[in-house]
Symmetry: C2
Subunit: 280 residues, 2 copies
């Protein structure tokens, strides 16, 4: 029977666990509670919470003013002000590490830096952070790939922050490039510890096992990056959301299986995957 090894720091991070606790408390004390977007990027956990009374909506226009949970990714200050104006009761579950990105952007803006936010252009965390740039009336860009760097050419003072769940390797490369052709660069590293630890866990485990299984939402950016890192170190890497996606043929004639999970993957999902692996 193959050995099953779980990477250090797999699964729920501090901010996600905190957001779910806040949401569950809100649900207990109210009849209807909405979350603005799925509370985390994990369809299975969102479904579990929905049956407990937390209804995800895509947009505040869909509902009348009521109790609404801001998920760990946060929102822009403009949208927050709008919600309050409309009479929504806000339950703020924004991750404190995401708030630290908002603060860092405002600090760099005040000091006159052109902002580079290393992240995914359409990620809700990034969209929320961009609102703080507008608030400070300062200029900046999101850098998702090296292609985007041309927008930074010719800037004299560049301030760099990162989406909390950014890849460390990509962050390093982008910071190095920008520092090379800019006179002055100030970097505030806002990649959260949970992200670093999960990525380090994969880097350590993936080369040592025959097969790697990465558990987490297909819509979860940090899980996708764990999968990419794993694949680069071990071609036998698979990204699944639930135990039902496991295929017997992945595990033929092997002696070890590595497991990790994104920051938005609940423990009960990880446990189900492990149980199913033992059956196979």
């Amino acid at each position: 029977m193959a050995k099953i090894l779980v990477a250090k720091s797999a699964g729920f991070c501090f901010g996600v666990r905190r957001a779910i606790n806040i949401a569950e408390k809100a649900v207990k004390s109210s009849q209807v509670v909405y979350s603005l977007g799925p509370i985390i990027h994990n369809p299975q956990e969102v479904k579990r919470l929905e049956s407990a009374g937390l209804k995800p909506i895509e947009n505040e226009f869909e509902i009348n003013p009521s109790k609404i949970v801001i998920r760990s990714h946060g929102i822009s200050p403009q949208r927050e002000a709008y919600l309050k104006n409309q009479g929504f009761e806000i339950v703020d579950a924004t991750c404190p590490y995401v708030k630290a990105v908002h603060d860092a952007v405002q600090e760099l803006c005040e000091d006159g830096y052109f902002i580079v936010l290393i992240g995914e252009k359409n990620h809700p965390e990034v969209l929320g952070t961009l609102g703080y740039l507008e608030l400070s009336d300062c200029k900046g860009v999101v850098v998702e790939s090296k292609e985007d760097l041309k927008q930074v050419l010719g800037k004299e003072k560049v301030g760099i922050v990162s989406q909390t769940t950014q890849s460390e390797q990509f962050f390093k490369e982008i910071v190095g490039e920008i520092a090379l052709w800019t006179r002055e660069v100030k970097v505030i590293n806002t990649i959260c510890n949970a992200t670093s630890e999960r990525q380090e866990g994969v880097i350590e485990l993936a080369p040592k096992v025959d097969v790697m299984v990465i558990i987490g939402g297909k819509n979860s950016g940090n899980t996708r990056r764990l999968f990419e890192i794993s694949k680069s170190l071990n071609p036998n890497s698979f990204h699944i959301e639930t135990e039902e996606e496991l295929k017997k043929e992945w595990f033929e004639n092997i002696s070890s299986i590595g497991i990790t999970a994104g920051a938005s993957t609940p423990d009960w999902l990880i446990e189900r995957v492990i149980a199913r692996l033992r059956e196979l």
Copy 2:
């Protein structure tokens, strides 16, 4: 006959040309003029200037107070003050780009950063710059290899500057690494344009030719780095000081030769090498 191609921006940089002009003027107006260390890292040019009246000394203790040229690498403010106190007449040929490093270090020190100076620990430019750290009573280290990075671990605010003639690739890597495990990093890129241009010239030319010849002092850091970059792109790379070191067998059955020269290599040496290559 093999084609001879000269890399863009080979040879003397602005700061070296300026230092030699200043020294030559000083020699014309005085009987004896000393330079504190060889005025540039090129033994052949130093010899030419010596016969014109510029005497290199290693240490001010060797001579009585007289006219003394500070070479392009600069010196520490403590040593400069000492020379003035002893009655030396200082002719300052410090490169303005090196002065910019001194200014950058003081600016970062004032803002409370722990200083990382990316450079060679025993290079006179680096030793001079370190004096400005002491002047500002601030802390810092010279990072010459990745090994040195352990001294930066655990620092909260790191300010990074560079020796003017540093390798761009190494600079990028070190900045990226430090930014990853430090909360706040401020980088002032003090690699001079001449260095960037000469390195880019080699990166462009070396892969296109059969043999690369790099001309410059064996004691010249920037020349050595041009040689290292060239060798990584073309194994048939050779570092020489004069045309006498050229060997016939390097150029057998080839169709193209690339040439570059460090920032301290005079034109007359480059021309002699080209003339000798045409003979071979």
